[in-house]
């Protein structure tokens, strides 16, 4: 059903609340195949969509293929193009999450030849999103509320930090550079840097050609998630991120000291 909310399950308590909601597709981070999530699920616990959001090796793909043989999933959201071959014969919805690499219509249309949909990048402006939605050959998944992955590393940066300073290891950390704040989360695979504020596309209902609306309420409590799903995010730290601000890349001489 189009126009549903694709909601990443980031808090176990929310599952019951969402069980009978027809407007919601549940997206479960798959254990050992994700990075940046506190909560991950085994394939046997997943009855809806599965998330595989990291780069995979040949061995990872073999493991994934084996796991998916017993899966009762309805769809998959993935980052690594290697997954395409693994899921090609499965009759499930296939959604590519390009993690910063699909920022234009031409590229997205090529990728759409292989999948049912693509999650639109959070690195682009609202104008660019509108252009993409109007010009892609298939309906896309539009991020509405998410913590943007600012980077992810194969390194266990918090473990390394704890080891170096002989501190107790913690999987989460909040740090800042001046007024910019970061939340860091490490699992067995690697480390993700998130901003403090949630990307929030308040205007999302103005746009047609959307397959699903994507919600990724990482680190939020049950009550907060329920409010977010009702589009009530006033009490949460949100940002329009790059929706209203184009990035620059050719730096004038005077800008090089920043």
């Amino acid at each position: 059903m189009e126009g549903q909310k694709l909601v990443c399950i980031t808090n176990k308590e929310i599952i019951n609340d969402l069980r009978d909601r027809k407007d919601i597709i549940k997206l479960y981070p798959l254990k050992s195949f994700c990075v940046g999530y506190e909560l991950e699920f085994t394939i046997d616990e997943i009855d809806d969509f599965v998330l595989v959001n990291r780069i995979l090796t040949n061995q990872d793909l073999k493991n994934l293929q084996m796991i998916l043989t017993r899966a009762k999933i309805k769809g998959i959201v993935f980052d690594d193009l290697g997954v395409l071959e693994v899921v090609k014969d499965l009759k499930i919805t296939k959604i590519l999450m390009l993690n910063h690499l699909g920022n234009n219509v031409i590229s997205l249309n090529y990728y759409l030849e292989y999948v049912d949909s693509v999650i639109i990048s959070t690195d682009i402006t609202e104008e660019e999103i509108a252009y993409i939605l109007n010009n892609c050959h298939k309906k896309l998944v539009l991020p509405v509320f998410t913590l943007v992955s600012l980077m992810y590393s194969r390194r266990q940066l918090l473990t390394n930090y704890a080891n170096h300073y002989h501190l107790a290891k913690n999987n989460k950390m909040r740090v800042n550079i001046k007024e910019k704040y970061f939340q860091i989360y490490e699992n067995d695979y690697g480390t993700v840097f998130y901003p403090q504020k949630y990307y929030c596309f308040e205007n999302y209902q103005s746009y047609p050609h959307v397959l699903y609306y994507f919600y990724n309420p990482i680190f939020l409590k049950r009550e907060e998630i329920l409010k977010v799903l009702a589009d009530d995010w006033q009490d949460l730290p949100t940002t329009s991120f790059l929706l209203k601000q184009k990035t620059i890349y050719k730096i004038k001489d005077g800008d090089l000291n920043d």
Binding site: I55, L56, T57, N58, Q59, D60, L61, D80, L81, G82, V83, L84, E85, V86, N99, H100, L101, N103, N104, V105, I106, S107, Y110, Y111, D123, E128, I132, V148, S149, L150, M151, Y152, S153, R154, R155, Q156, L157, T159, N160, Y161, N163, H164, Y165, M173, V175, N176, I177, K180, F182, I184, F193, P195, F241, Q245, T247, I248, Y249, K250, I251, D258
Partner: protein
């Protein structure tokens, strides 16, 4: 094919990369390349570079590896056609739109998949192979078994980074720069936020900067498992860095292939490389996952060393005088080393210095001043003189 691939960020570096032992060089044009703030190359300069490289039997690859936004496509088609006419040997691309466009235009150059695509498995490689990609620059996170599997399953040409700075993140998966400074890392504006200090209110500052990559201990093994191209990072680097690093790896690879590499030579090469970059280095992901030992934990005071003393402009066999352009302060009595593509590295003590008018002086203190040194051993134009720090036993 074993290829040593060198970075060139500006015209000056081309000569040094090619003559100091690179089999191929990679560079960026003035658009569409991930080092938007390097000097980069205009189309006429790319043409000139291709002619020079081809005369030497070497190759030129052009990075067209930004992640395109819709506004960036203007002139891309004309640009690819121009590169094709110029005769570049390959482009390095990460965006599927560029890969497909090159295919549609039936360009004669090869398409290499950029490390920005973070490729680590055979399925992904096959996906790109079907689109005409001839070579894949693997993610820097690739481990030995990943490379073996990809070579075995796909037969594709594999290019691996072997030396230089590392991103903390998977390449192409980082927008720290966009968040902090609004500078687009995936379009060439990276502000290198991973090299900044993060304040932790509950403990010491967090730093996440990796040490540089250095694959000296594993080059022989990489050759054995079928890596085709050995890539040096550093399009923003100086001629001294490019010359030193390329020459070290040239000699290392040749000695491996000739079975003449010694442990002492390996140690010497490591010392020279670390000193040249002013940074510690490590093999990083190839044989294990990196730990805290492969990272920095304080803000490094990057004090540029003054090792590069002079560039040889000429040598007179009769007078035994070498004509030099000074690059850093040196004086009579200094122990120095000369090295060059056709000059075995040797050490010597400076005994006599003369200014341009052949007046005897004791120090060369002015940047880029020209001077003469008395030197019995023959050197060649564009050899370099550095401070003697290490010597090969």
């Amino acid at each position: 094919m074993i290829e040593l691939l060198a970075p060139v960020g500006r015209k000056e570096n081309v000569y040094f990369a090619l003559h100091y032992g690179a089999d191929a060089i990679y560079l960026g044009g003035q658009d569409f390349s991930l080092r938007a703030n390097a000097q980069n190359f205009s189309l006429p300069e790319i043409k000139e570079t291709v002619i020079l490289a081809h005369e030497l039997g070497k190759k030129v690859y052009v990075a067209v590896n930004i992640v395109f936004h819709d506004e960036d496509f203007l002139h891309l088609k004309e640009y690819l056609r121009s590169l094709d006419e110029i005769g570049v040997d390959a482009i390095i691309a990460s965006d599927i739109a560029v890969v497909k466009l090159a295919q549609e235009l039936a360009c004669k150059f090869a398409v290499h998949l950029s490390t920005q695509a973070s490729t680590l498995n055979s399925n992904a490689v096959k996906f790109w192979q079907k689109l005409g990609v001839k070579r894949v620059v693997l993610a820097r996170e690739a481990q030995r078994e990943d490379i073996i599997a990809i070579k075995k399953d796909t037969g594709i040409e594999v290019e691996c980074f072997i030396h230089g700075a590392m991103c903390t993140s998977f390449s192409g998966k980082c927008i720290l720069s966009n968040y902090m400074t609004n500078r687009d890392s995936n379009r060439g504006g990276c502000a290198q936020i991973c090299r900044w200090n993060f304040t932790n209110p509950d403990g010491p500052d967090l730093t996440i900067t990796p040490k540089d990559l250095n694959m000296v201990p594993f080059i022989a093994d990489m050759i054995d498992i079928g890596v085709n191209s050995f890539k040096i990072e550093g399009r923003m680097r100086s001629i001294y860095y490019v010359a030193t690093v390329i020459l070290v790896y040239r000699r290392l690879i040749d000695q491996i292939l000739n079975h003449t590499l010694t442990t002492d030579a390996c140690t010497y090469y490591l010392n020279v490389l670390n000193r040249c970059a002013n940074r510690d280095s490590a093999p990083q992901f190839y044989d294990k996952l990196p730990t805290e030992k492969e990272q920095y934990f304080i803000t490094r005071e990057e004090v540029t060393n003054k090792d590069f003393l002079g560039l040889v402009l000429d040598y007179d066999e009769k007078t035994k005088l070498v004509y030099l352009e000074q690059r850093n302060y040196f004086k009579v009595g200094d122990e120095v080393q000369f090295f060059g593509p056709n000059t075995e590295t040797f050490s010597v003590k400076i005994t006599e210095i003369y200014d341009e008018d052949k007046n005897k002086i004791t120090v060369a203190r002015h940047p880029q001043m020209k001077c003469y040194l008395k030197l019995d051993q023959r050197v060649q134009k564009y050899d370099m003189m550095r401070l003697k720090i290490f010597s090969l036993k």
